[in-house]
């Protein structure tokens, strides 16, 4: 009798399990296409254009995405993506040592090579006296020129339309909205920077080439980090620079340390932060952060 009860119990359990597993059967409808982006601006643009049609992701990057080195753990995500939206213009140095399906790479600056700016003063190295081997440099913070950002957004829309042709019209309409906002941003920057035209400026790092070109800024770059006090040589070089280029405003990628701010102030130079927005920031989305940049530039005139 006990054996029979046990048997019945087992059969019952089996039937229950059937029901449970039946209920948790995998989702029948197809998974969304996975789109990976290499930095935050592209992530933002893609999300705005794609809506919820695709799953937009950005790798977990601490710090500047331009310095990102994907590891073995990142490869599965990269290779599984249906589309990888990249900035191009040499931004993704990791492309040189990763193996990816080229058909899935969407280079957003591929068709606007004529708009890209070369970098000057790049440190080269060579092996032996036989010959010089150069590393050609291109400035890659292209999105800082809203007109170039529009081109990149258009490239994204085209890429998404190939990926999900059925949603091409939806992508187009969302692109139009994004373009309008970028045009507005361009206008506001134009206004803000018009007052700084011809005024000598210094950039803490050579990452504002497109901003400089777009708004005709008279600027020179140094290689200073916000949290690292420049050494004696750097200050001497800075003085020499100021002699030829008497800047009163220094634009920083990130908030400089109070020591640096003070020392600059002693020399009559104001520090203002213009966040290139390469990575996500808790303070807000792309346009919030860019508007904040404009606000700070505007405020610096005082």
């Amino acid at each position: 009798m006990r054996r029979l009860t046990l048997l019945l119990l087992l059969i019952l359990l089996g039937a229950c399990k059937e029901q449970v597993t039946g209920g948790s059967r995998p989702d029948d409808h197809a998974a969304k296409p996975q789109v990976l982006t290499s930095n935050y601006p592209l992530y933002y643009f893609t999300s705005e254009i794609a809506g919820d049609v695709v799953d937009v992701q950005m790798p977990e990057i601490d710090g500047d995405p331009a310095m990102w080195v994907p590891g073995a753990a990142d490869i599965p995500q990269l290779q599984a993506a249906d589309l990888i939206v990249i900035n191009g213009a040499g931004y993704e140095s990791w492309l040189a040592y990763t193996s990816l399906d080229n058909d899935r790479l969407l280079d957003t600056t591929k068709d606007i090579q004529d708009l890209l700016l070369p970098i000057e003063n790049v440190t080269l190295h060579q092996h032996g006296p036989e010959g010089e081997h150069s590393h050609k440099g291109t400035a890659f913070t292209t999105w800082l020129d809203p007109r170039i950002a529009v081109e990149q957004a258009r490239a994204i829309a085209r890429g998404l339309s190939v990926l999900v042709p059925a949603q091409a019209e939806a992508f187009k309409s969302r692109l139009v909205l994004l373009e309008q906002r970028l045009v507005e941003l361009d206008r506001s920057f134009e206004q803000v920077f018009s007052n700084l035209k011809d005024q000598p400026l210094v950039f803490s790092h050579p990452v504002y080439q497109y901003l400089q070109k777009r708004y005709g800024l008279n600027a020179r770059s140094v290689h200073w980090e916000p949290d690292t006090e420049p050494g004696v040589k750097e200050w001497v070089d800075f003085q020499n620079l100021l002699r030829a280029h008497p800047a009163k405003l220094m634009i920083w990628e990130g908030q400089p340390s109070p020591v640096i701010i003070e020392r600059l102030q002693d020399q009559g130079i104001q520090s203002v932060v213009f966040n290139p927005v390469a990575n996500q920031d808790a303070a807000g989305d792309y346009f919030v952060l860019m508007s904040a940049n404009a606000g700070r530039i505007l405020g610096s005139k005082k």
Binding site: P70, G71, I75, A96, D103, N121, H125, P129
Partner: protein, 394 residues
């Protein structure tokens, strides 16, 4: 009565084991060799042809067509003349086909290292049996046979073999990390080590990694500094393994457009594109050739089949001689056994009984030969073709 004759026949063969085995072996070989020859040639031809048929077009530097095909499809050790990486771009830019690069110059303990792109695996329909696909410079995915013969799997390492013992300049052993093992495909891919083509260039020394010369701690390796250019001296140590820590320091000097490839697998979407492409490269200024691997192999196989026929003819002659010798042995044996047959007849055995006895001995040998020959043919079918194909890669 017939059972008795078979019993006596069987006992006789068993007792004279050595003679029986020699006869069995001779007749078996006589049956097996022509069959095996046909099987091997047919199966090898099928396998070779299948792979060639699955490869629409090959782009290579002008030179030996067979050499190009054997190297690109079967990773034969003999290298065709190299063509530049820009040739791949030309194919892509034509809009008529996509291209898959191949660079097969190097080996790792005898296994060909195939520098290629991820597209190769989808093209050849290769699946992973374990681990993952290569994703970073210096990573490798190995074929099933490489994994078993060299006892490597995801997480292990393989080192590229230097080309010569005194190879001091450039081609140096690179330690590659195995990240994946391919499922058995029954093709030369089972015997290969796959890397990104850029990893193959690193092996060649066209790309390398070393400490950043701009950093202070590398000053011992600096020969001179001149404005924006730093010249390194010979003491600069180059990395022989690409790791997470040094991968950013790996670079190629000069543009990669001139870097070498053994061939490009060209995949046109349709026959029209294929024809147009072939037409373009007919007398192309670049001097490259676009060929149809199937056609090249057909020419080769025609020769092979002709040779096969001669071989089989020779084997048939040998068979005739074997039959003659075997018959002689039987006749001599029967003569020696005359007394035995006389005794049987005197005891009451009929002529047909004695004839059946002799026939059963012949029959057992023949049956045994047929069975053994069939078994050997089956084994040949299963294992020899793979072995023969592996000879092509040598």
């Amino acid at each position: 009565m017939m059972t008795g004759a078979f019993f006596l026949g069987w006992r006789y063969l068993r007792f004279h084991r050595f003679k029986s085995l020699v006869l069995l072996a001779s007749v078996t070989l006589m049956m097996f060799l022509p069959t095996a020859t046909r099987l091997l040639v047919a199966d090898s031809a099928t396998a070779l042809t299948a792979r060639a048929q699955a490869t629409p077009l090959l782009l290579g530097e002008r030179g030996g067509e067979l050499e190009l095909v054997l190297n690109a499809l079967y990773f034969h050790a003999e290298q065709p003349p190299v063509l530049p990486y820009s040739a791949l771009g030309d194919i892509e830019a034509s809009g008529l086909a996509s291209g898959i690069p191949l660079y097969t110059r190097f080996r790792s303990r005898g296994a060909p290292i195939v520098g290629t792109s991820l597209d190769y695996f989808a093209f050849r329909n290769l699946q992973l049996a374990g681990g993952r696909m290569m994703g970073l410079l210096g990573e490798a995915v190995v074929g099933a046979n490489v994994a078993s013969e060299q006892a490597v799997g995801p997480g292990d390492h393989l080192v590229s073999s230097p080309e010569t013992v005194f190879d001091l300049a450039g081609v140096y052993p690179l330690k590659m990390q195995v990240v994946g093992v391919l499922a058995r495909s029954g093709s030369p891919d089972d015997d290969a080590v796959f890397v990104d083509v850029r990893t193959a260039w690193v092996i060649q020394g066209l790309g390398h990694g070393h400490d950043d010369l701009a950093r202070g701690d590398s000053s011992a390796s600096v020969l001179s500094r001149n404005e924006g250019t730093i010249t390194a001296n010979a003491s600069l140590k180059q990395f022989n393994e690409i790791t997470a820590e040094n991968i950013r320091d790996f670079h190629f000097h000069g543009g990669t457009s001139g870097f070498p490839l053994s061939a490009v697998i060209v995949v046109p979407p349709d026959d029209k594109s294929a024809t147009l492409l072939r037409g373009r490269y007919q007398n192309h200024e670049s001097g490259y050739q676009v060929l149809v691997p199937g056609n090249v192999l057909d020419d080769l196989l025609e020769t092979v089949f002709t040779i096969q026929n001669y071989v089989i003819l020779g084997l048939m002659m040998l068979s005739l001689a074997t039959i003659a010798v075997v018959t002689l042995v039987f006749l001599l044996s029967q003569q020696l056994r005359r007394g035995e047959f006389m005794t049987l007849k005197r005891m009451g055995a009929s002529r047909s009984f004695v004839a059946t006895l002799i026939a059963s001995e012949i029959g057992f040998v023949l049956l045994g030969s047929v069975a053994l020959s069939a078994l050997m043919s089956w084994v040949t079918r299963h294992y020899a073709t793979e072995f023969l194909l592996s000879l092509v890669t040598l």
